[in-house]
Symmetry: C2
Subunit: 371 residues, 2 copies
C-alpha cells in the first residue's frame, strides 16, 4: 500500500476550499474538515481524507443536502432531539454536541439524540469537543446496516461506534471504537490494498465466514446480505452477543430516543447520532477526579507486560503519539485516496497542483473508486 | 455437572431466612435474595445461589459489614455520590439506584456513582429497577481485578459489566454483560464441572493463553498474575482494545466519578458501582419511543438466519423464556452449590431439610468450596 505524506495544514486548506466549493459556508467547511483531519492526525486513516470520495459522491447524488440546517424539535433542560433534515453529518453533529455541552454546563449533564443526518465522521470528535471544555463527552452513531446480529446473515445494525473522552494528564482519555469487530473503513482499506481480510471479521450472504473485502463491500452496497461481525465474533462463546448488545446500546441513544431511522432502515439517508455531556463537578472537585483518573491510567501503563510485548497503552495514548508524529512528518495518505482527491478537485474545477505541487502519482492508472 | 431443580419460592424463603440469620433486616434480606434469585430465574446461573458461598465467606471474614448503611456524600438534582461504608453490595446498589430513579423522575435523568461497596450481584437487577418504572436504566460495577489489559499479564480491571434495560413489548430489553470475554462466575462453573476452559478466554501469569480454570481462579485469589481477557481477546486485530475500552468506560462511572478504589486496588473491599436512570419522556412521547423500539426488536428477530441457526435473539428474550421455564420447572442448582448451601445452613444453625426435604445429594462427598 503506497502512501504519500501530506502536510496537515495544506490538506486542511484543500479540504476547506473543496467543501466551500460544494456550497458549504466557511464555518461549516472548517468543521467538516476538522473532523476528517482529526482522524488522520490521530492515526485513524480509515476515517480521514480516505472518506472524502464518499462525501463527494453523497453530495453529488443528493443524499447529503447542503442547504439544510439542523433544528431542535424537542427539548428540556437536560435533553434535546435534533432533526438534521438530511444535511451534512459533521455540521449536524457539531451543532448537536454544542447543545449537549451548553445544557450540561447549566444542568450538570445532558443527552441529545439526533435524527435525519448523514455520516458524521469519527464519533470521537464530538466526545473530544466536550472533553476540551472539561466535561466527559460520549458520542454514538448508527450507520447504514453493516453488523450482522448473532446467528443472523443480514446486516441489521450499523458499525455503531461508542466514543468517550475525559480530561486526564498527560493526555485526555480518548476511546472511539465500533461495536463491530472492525469498521467498514478498515474493510475499505483492505480492499484498496487488495489484501484478504483477517479471519473472523466478516460473513458472506449465507452467514458463512469470508475474507474477501470486495465481496463484503459489494454485498453491503447492494444489500445482498452478509456483513461485519459484532465485536466478539460469530459465537456466544466468544461474546458475539455482547458486541451485538453494545451495538444496541448505541442504537438506543441514536435512532430510538430520536425516533429516527434504525440502521436497517437507512438506505438513502437518515442516520442518527447520540451525544452525552457530563460535568464532573456534579460528582465533586473536577481536579481531584481528574487526578484520580490520571493515577489509574498511569498504573495501567506501568503494569506488567505479557510475553512478547513491552508496552500497555491507555486509550488516547496512541492518538497523542500520532499527533506528535503528524506535526513532524505530516499524515500518510494512500495513493488511491490521492487519485480520488484529484477526481474531486477536477469535479470542483480546483487546481490540484496549486495545493500539493507535482506528486509522484500515476493519475492515469485507471483506478476508479468503488463508491 | 449434576443439577437439582428447586422451586424458586422455597429457595427465596431459604435465602431470605439465611440473610436474616446473618443479621440483615427482613427488608434488606429480601433485596439481597431478589437480586440472587433474579439471576437464577433469568438463566444466569453463574450469579445466582451459586454465589451464596462467596457472600457467606465475605460476611464471615468481615469483608462485608452487616451493620453499615450507605450514605449520600455529595449530590445535585441530577447526581449523587454514595459511600457504601463496606456494607452489603446489593443493599448499597438498591439504595443507589433508588436515588437515581427518584432524581430522574424529577430532573429527567440522573447518575449515581457509589464507592466502598462489595459485590452487588448482577448489574442487570439495578438496570431493571429503572425499567420497571418506565425509565431507561443502566448499571455498571467494577470488581476485584480480573481483566488483563491488552498486552498485559496482570489483571488491572474488573469483569466490569455494563447493563442496560428499557421498556419494550412483548418483553423489556435487558442486556447485562461483562466487558471481559466471560465472567469469573463462568470460570467458577467450569471449575466446578472440572472442564477445560474454551480457548481465548484466559491467560496465565506470564500473559500466555491457558484453559485451566483452577489455575486461573487460584492465581486471581492469590493475585499471582494472569486473568480473563477483554471482550475481543488478546489481539487488537480481534478488538481486544475495545473490550478493554468498554471496561474503562465502566470504571469511569464507578470508581473514577466516586473517587473510590479502582479495580486494581480493591484487595479487601471497596468495590464501586455506577447507576444511570433516564426518563424517555425528555425525548418525546414515551409510548411512541417504546413502540418504535419494539418494532426494531421485532425486525431483528424476524431477520434472516445464518446457516445452521433458526433463531436470532434480542436481549431480554432468553430471560423471558427462562422466567417462563422457572415458573414451571423451578431453577436448576449444581449439586456442589447445594453442598455449599448446606454448609451455610449448618453455620447458621438452620434446618436445611425443613426447607428442601431429603435431597438425593451425598453431603459427605468430601467436596469443599474453593472460596
Amino acid at each position: 500500500m503506497a502512501h504519500i505524506n501530506f502536510d496537515t495544514e495544506v490538506l486542511r486548506k484543500f479540504c476547506t476550499d473543496a467543501f466551500c466549493n460544494f456550497g458549504f459556508s466557511p464555518e461549516d467547511s472548517a468543521v467538516i474538515t476538522a473532523n476528517l483531519l482529526m482522524a488522520d492526525i490521530y492515526g485513524i486513516e480509515s476515517h480521514g481524507v480516505q472518506r472524502l470520495q464518499r462525501y463527494h459522491k453523497s453530495i453529488q447524488n443528493g443524499k447529503i443536502l447542503i442547504d439544510q440546517r439542523p433544528e431542535i424539535v424537542f427539548e428540556t433542560p437536560v435533553s434535546a432531539v435534533v432533526d438534521g433534515h438530511n444535511g451534512m453529518g459533521q455540521v449536524i453533529g457539531h451543532y448537536s454536541m454544542e447543545i449537549a455541552i451548553e445544557k450540561a454546563k447549566k444542568s450538570g449533564m445532558a443527552i441529545v439524540s439526533t435524527r435525519n443526518s448523514n455520516h458524521y465522521g469519527i464519533a470521537g470528535y464530538y466526545a473530544k469537543m466536550a472533553c476540551d471544555q472539561g466535561l466527559i463527552g460520549l458520542s454514538f452513531t448508527n450507520s447504514e446496516a453493516i453488523m450482522v446480529p448473532t446467528f443472523g446473515k443480514k446486516a441489521m445494525l450499523g458499525s455503531n461506534p461508542i466514543a468517550i473522552s475525559m480530561p486526564a494528564e498527560p493526555y485526555p482519555f480518548f476511546f472511539d471504537a465500533s461495536t463491530t469487530v472492525v469498521t467498514r473503513g478498515k474493510v475499505e482499506m483492505y480492499n484498496k490494498a487488495e489484501k484478504p481480510l483477517p479471519e473472523g471479521w466478516t460473513v458472506n450472504k449465507d452467514g458463512v465466514p469470508t475474507t474477501d473485502a470486495l465481496e463484503i463491500l459489494t454485498n453491503i452496497n447492494q444489500r445482498a446480505g452478509g456483513g461485519i461481525l459484532p465485536l466478539g465474533g460469530s459465537e456466544e462463546k466468544t461474546g458475539s452477543h455482547k458486541g451485538y448488545g453494545y451495538g444496541m446500546l448505541c442504537e438506543i441513544f441514536c435512532s430510538i430516543l430520536s425516533q429516527g431511522k434504525t440502521s436497517n432502515n437507512t438506505r438513502i439517508n437518515g442516520l442518527c447520532h447520540g451525544f452525552i455531556a457530563i460535568d464532573p463537578a456534579v460528582f465533586g472537585d473536577p481536579k481531584a477526579i481528574e487526578d484520580h483518573f490520571s493515577t489509574f491510567l498511569q498504573e495501567l501503563r506501568d503494569s506488567p507486560k505479557a510475553e512478547g510485548h513491552d508496552r500497555i497503552f491507555t486509550h488516547g495514548e496512541k492518538a497523542a503519539m500520532a499527533i506528535e508524529r503528524s506535526k513532524k512528518e505530516g499524515v500518510p495518505v494512500d495513493v488511491k485516496t490521492v487519485i480520488e482527491m484529484k477526481d474531486m478537485a477536477d469535479y470542483l474545477h480546483m487546481d490540484f497542483e496549486s495545493y500539493f505541487g507535482k506528486l509522484d502519482v500515476d493519475f492515469n492508472s485507471g483506478y476508479k473508486a468503488s463508491f
